[in-house]
């Protein structure tokens, strides 16, 4: 099923399942981590709205903080978009982004579609420039022997929070990008 068609909880569960540390999580822990990451994303979205981010035209707001690049050629790895921490740069791969709507039987509002990705990557900007990486806010034990205990964060929490951030603005993304649903 297309990622955009999934509910936030379903998407978060899928993302957590792809995490290298997934097998170490109990069901209770999974639910707790998902709720935690979602709450961070939503909280940041509300803060951004309060500080003047217009989700219909996020470019203007985002350009104050980071560079934006729209690439037409495909990326070297299967991704839709990325955020380069070193250069504070958001890169969108347009050919790949167009792929994500394949199979959705709607007329897509391309500008809104782009917004989803811009906002997603902007959340990562916030992680590295304001709130700190969400992946490191909750850690789990990966190794324990006698007095030695190694705890590590989960990459997926960062992504779950970024998706929650976007959906706080967009609501159901399929409805949001549907040109006929405005």
């Amino acid at each position: 099923m297309n990622e955009l068609e999934l509910s936030l909880k379903e998407l978060a569960t899928n993302l957590l399942k792809r995490d290298i540390l997934y097998s170490r999580l109990t069901h209770t822990k999974q639910a707790e981590l998902i709720d935690f990451a979602i709450s961070i994303g939503r909280k940041q979205a509300r803060k951004c709205l309060a500080s003047g981010l217009n989700p219909e035209q996020p470019e203007l707001y985002l350009k104050k903080y980071c560079q934006l690049e729209f690439k037409k050629h495909p990326p070297q790895i299967p991704i839709y978009s990325e955020f380069e921490v070193k250069n504070n740069k958001i890169i969108l791969y347009l050919s790949e982004i167009e792929e994500i709507v394949q199979g959705l039987e709607i007329t897509v509002d391309k500008k809104r579609l782009i917004n989803l990705f811009l906002l997603h990557e902007f959340f990562h900007f916030l992680e590295y420039n304001s709130i700190g990486p969400v992946s490191r806010m909750r850690k789990i034990t990966v190794f324990k022997f006698l007095f030695l205990e190694i705890k590590r964060g989960l990459f997926s929490l960062s992504e779950i929070a970024a998706h929650a951030f976007v959906r706080e603005f967009s609501g159901d993304p399929v409805v949001y990008i549907n040109a006929n649903a405005k």
């Binding site: 399942k17 792809r18 540390l21 070297q76 921490v85 989960l154």
Partner: protein
């Protein structure tokens, strides 16, 4: 003199045929063995003749080595089929958690440890298809991820016991010498791997991606539950050779027994795994065994007194005997190990090293070490390696791009190896 020129011409023709992929090494080496024998005037019959000495004696010349390779492949299959190799890679990634540099370093260590024991394209694909998506998902460019993988593989393969058996058998150098030099070379390779990873991370920086679902799907990786103790399996044979000075084959058997005990399988399952992995392991290394048979024939040819006598004046003029000459010669020409070239022990190099040793042009440990050092260029960077081709395809880059990325590093690595060899054995 005419015979020497004809031998060199044959050598160049076969090298070109291999380079242009008109003739596989598997066939070129035995053809060269017989061709040289004919040019040198070695008779067909008789105890020292082509039939008995070169062909019959040649195919069994490296028997000890290929038996070791078979046992290595057997253990390799056990590690693959029971999930030990997968679990080692996964455990390394888990220990790294959400720290990309740490994950990459730990993955490199895990890959290196695995390849001290496992081998063959099947094992390479199995490890690569787990480790590479993780590396790519960290934001490393594909060519960097592939290069890091090859570097880590290069560390492990330098202390791969099956390979040690080959060097001992092919050059007649004691295992102790191979052990000392290979461990030094692995140390240098590890340091360069570390430097390479740091440089690549510095260049790439931290990147966050909205990835497509197909990248790094760990749900496909986590299947088998392997007891933690079984994860030590790849280092067991190495420990037995290094610490208890056991020969290579019994050390592999010790690894095999250790794996089966620590995996806690039922008796029926244990028997099943042992037999299936034995068959699969042997079929994995069948091409290597056939190649070794050809190399054995070539060694028999170049060690033949008639061939040595013909080649002595030529090689005397070419191979330097001074320490500085030795360092310059092998360091500068190290890339000749690429494309199955004359400094590749698993190709034409075995003939060259055989001649150098048989003529006493260099001490045997110095000749073996020089070729082992230059072979780093081949093992890690050679675009004709099937594992390099698979890797390039998997990450979607050209195999030559990987070589371009690595060549500077592996050339320096070979040169450092030659210098160490000169200090130890010249």
């Amino acid at each position: 003199m005419t015979s020497a020129i004809l031998i060199i011409v044959l050598f160049v023709i076969l090298a070109l045929l291999m380079l242009t992929r008109k003739l596989p090494t598997l066939l070129a080496i035995p053809l060269m063995a017989i061709g040289i024998a004919i040019i040198a005037g070695i008779p067909l019959g008789g105890e020292q003749g082509i039939l008995s000495n070169i062909i019959q004696g040649g195919v069994t010349r490296l028997a000890t080595a290929y038996v070791a390779v078979i046992f290595g492949a057997w253990l390799s299959q056990i590690m693959t089929q029971t999930g030990i190799s997968k679990s080692i890679i996964k455990f390394a990634a888990e220990l790294g958690g959400d720290r990309p540099l740490l994950i990459t370093l730990l993955l490199a260590i895990a890959i290196a440890i695995l390849f001290t024991t496992i081998g063959g394209l099947g094992a390479f694909i199995m490890v690569g298809s787990i480790a590479l998506p993780i590396m790519l998902s960290l934001g490393l460019p594909p060519v960097s991820a592939a290069s890091i993988f090859l570097f880590a593989f290069g560390v492990g393969i330098t202390i791969n016991l099956g390979n040690w058996a080959f060097y001992v058998d092919a050059t007649g150098v004691p295992l102790e010498v191979v052990k000392t030099f290979a461990l030094s070379l692995a140390g240098v390779t590890a340091v360069l791997t570390f430097v390479f990873i740091l440089i690549e991370f510095k260049k790439a920086g931290i990147r966050k991606h909205w990835v497509k679902p197909e990248l790094n799907n760990q749900a496909e990786v986590r299947d088998e539950k392997v007891p933690k103790l079984a994860l030590f399996t790849p280092i067991v044979p190495l420990l037995f050779v290094l610490v208890f000075n056991w020969p290579i084959v019994p050390s592999f058997i010790a690894g095999l027994i250790f794996a089966m005990i620590t995996l806690h399988k039922s008796f029926a399952e244990t028997v099943n795994i042992i037999t299936k992995s034995a068959y699969d392991g042997i079929s994995d290394v069948a091409p290597v065994i056939v190649l070794m048979m050809g190399i054995g024939m070539l060694l028999k040819t170049v060690f033949h007194p008639q061939v040595s006598a013909i080649m002595e004046p030529f090689l005397n003029a070419v191979i330097p005997s001074s320490t500085i000459g030795y360092i310059l010669f092998f360091s500068l020409l190290a890339p000749l190990a690429l494309y199955r070239g004359p400094l590749n022990m698993w190709g034409l190099g075995s003939g060259i090293v055989g001649l150098i040793i048989s003529l006493g042009l260099l001490p045997a440990p110095a000749a073996m070490s020089a070729l082992l050092a230059t072979e780093r260029v081949q093992a890690i960077g050679d675009p004709t390696n099937t594992h390099n081709v698979w890797l390039a395809n998997y990450v979607g880059v050209s195999v030559n791009d990987i070589l371009k990325k690595l060549l500077g590093y592996i050339w320096v690595l070979a040169a450092i190896g030659v210098i160490i060899a000169a200090v130890l054995y010249m």
